[in-house]
Symmetry: C2
Subunit: 236 residues, 2 copies
């Protein structure tokens, strides 16, 4: 659509504006822009339907952006305007929200002057089963299940540690479905002793990034992707 | 000394009683017992001198036990009585204090019936330099220094991670001095970018035990030995 409209050579960013009613009447309109390379990606959509039906209102009826793999604020709902710009849009939702420090800062500090816009999600995984503090009989095999995803690139593998990060073993990672879809994983564990045991999940992407033990702190709290830890009790 | 006194075949534990004044006049006397194998170890001492001088009062003058590598309560100060027993001593400092669950329990739970006495320290390390949140110029090499120790066996190696547990590199571990003495380690790091960077230290003993990312929780809070993490700021 952007190509059909004609893009000038200096087109750099595309801003979407939606009809967010806003909880505060005087608040600035919610406008976020994304770089042209992401706007032109074949997976970035202007969507008016979902599952062969019109979009539900809560999902942005009648029209919304879908910018997969990126922070949700890029996917403007109730879209009514697209602006092609020669630079990132300047507005409070670009300069004061959805930003992270360009260089990791000391935990607890204020936002430094040097920031970047929050874009793609880093590699992340979650254990969805068992539930925290679930109880098992000692003779039972425990199957750990979960999901892994990453904003750009691919999930390469998921590892589970049952000894608090000393050793890691590969989980079974389901085949890749649609691009950007999460990947399910499973890991079978035969308890060797009674008592509390924890499962740590750590996913890697195909660029060598792994979930960290402790994610870098940032003032607005984005992109938390530390190892997910679920403990269970193995009873006699 | 125990051999000179003569030990019966069923001698199993040795209890030390000291002259602890006690903050509460009605409190039970502080009596702890240790197994015969530890009592007969050549490194377990009845000490009356330190650094060629009588023991200072605060260190147990005139006589104390030194049970190296074990929780401090085993090293009875102001010792006046040793009792050879055919089983662990039964008293509040054996049955209600200095105990840990035999099997790891769910965090927050009460002490279960099945417990063991706190004995040797697990493998542990600490970063002693740099200080948390220290600041460095980007061109500066950062030397991480610390100590590692273990209650029984030997420290095998210390590893440092500068990427939140994704990869680990060996620190330089100083040669072993006296048995039970801590080992110093150093690790040189050349910053590759500005910003906050953390150092994680993890020691391994010669039995394959490593410090855990998260130590097993126990109601009395003993033996915390999780990875030590110190973050610093690399400035332009």
């Amino acid at each position: 659509m952007l190509q059909a409209a004609g893009l000038k050579p200096n087109a750099a960013h595309v801003a979407g504006q939606g009809g967010d009613p806003g909880a505060v009447a005087t608040a600035a309109p919610v406008i976020r822009s994304i770089p042209m390379r992401k706007a032109m990606d074949e997976n970035t959509l202007l969507a008016w339907a979902m599952n062969d039906a019109p979009l539900p209102k809560v999902h942005g009826y009648p029209l919304r952006l879908v910018v997969p793999g990126w922070v949700g604020s890029a996917s403007t709902k109730w879209a009514h305007t697209l602006m092609v710009l020669d630079a990132p849009f300047k507005g409070t939702y670009m300069t004061n929200s959805y930003i992270v420090p360009k260089f990791a800062i000391e935990p607890g500090q204020k936002m430094p002057p040097d920031v970047v816009s929050a874009e793609a999600w880093p590699i992340k995984s979650m254990i969805t089963s068992p539930a925290p503090n679930a109880r098992f009989k000692g003779s039972q095999r425990i199957t750990v299940r979960g999901r892994a995803w990453v904003g750009e690139g691919e999930v390469d593998r998921v590892e589970i540690s049952t000894d608090e990060g000393k050793t890691w073993r590969r989980a079974q990672l389901a085949r890749s479905g649609d691009k950007y879809a999460w990947r399910t994983f499973t890991f079978d564990f035969e308890p060797e002793r009674f008592g509390y045991v924890s499962f740590l999940a750590r996913a890697w992407d195909d660029r060598g990034n792994a979930q960290p033990a402790v994610p870098y702190w940032n003032p607005l709290g984005y992109f938390w992707n530390g190892w997910h830890r679920v403990g269970v009790l193995v009873e006699a």
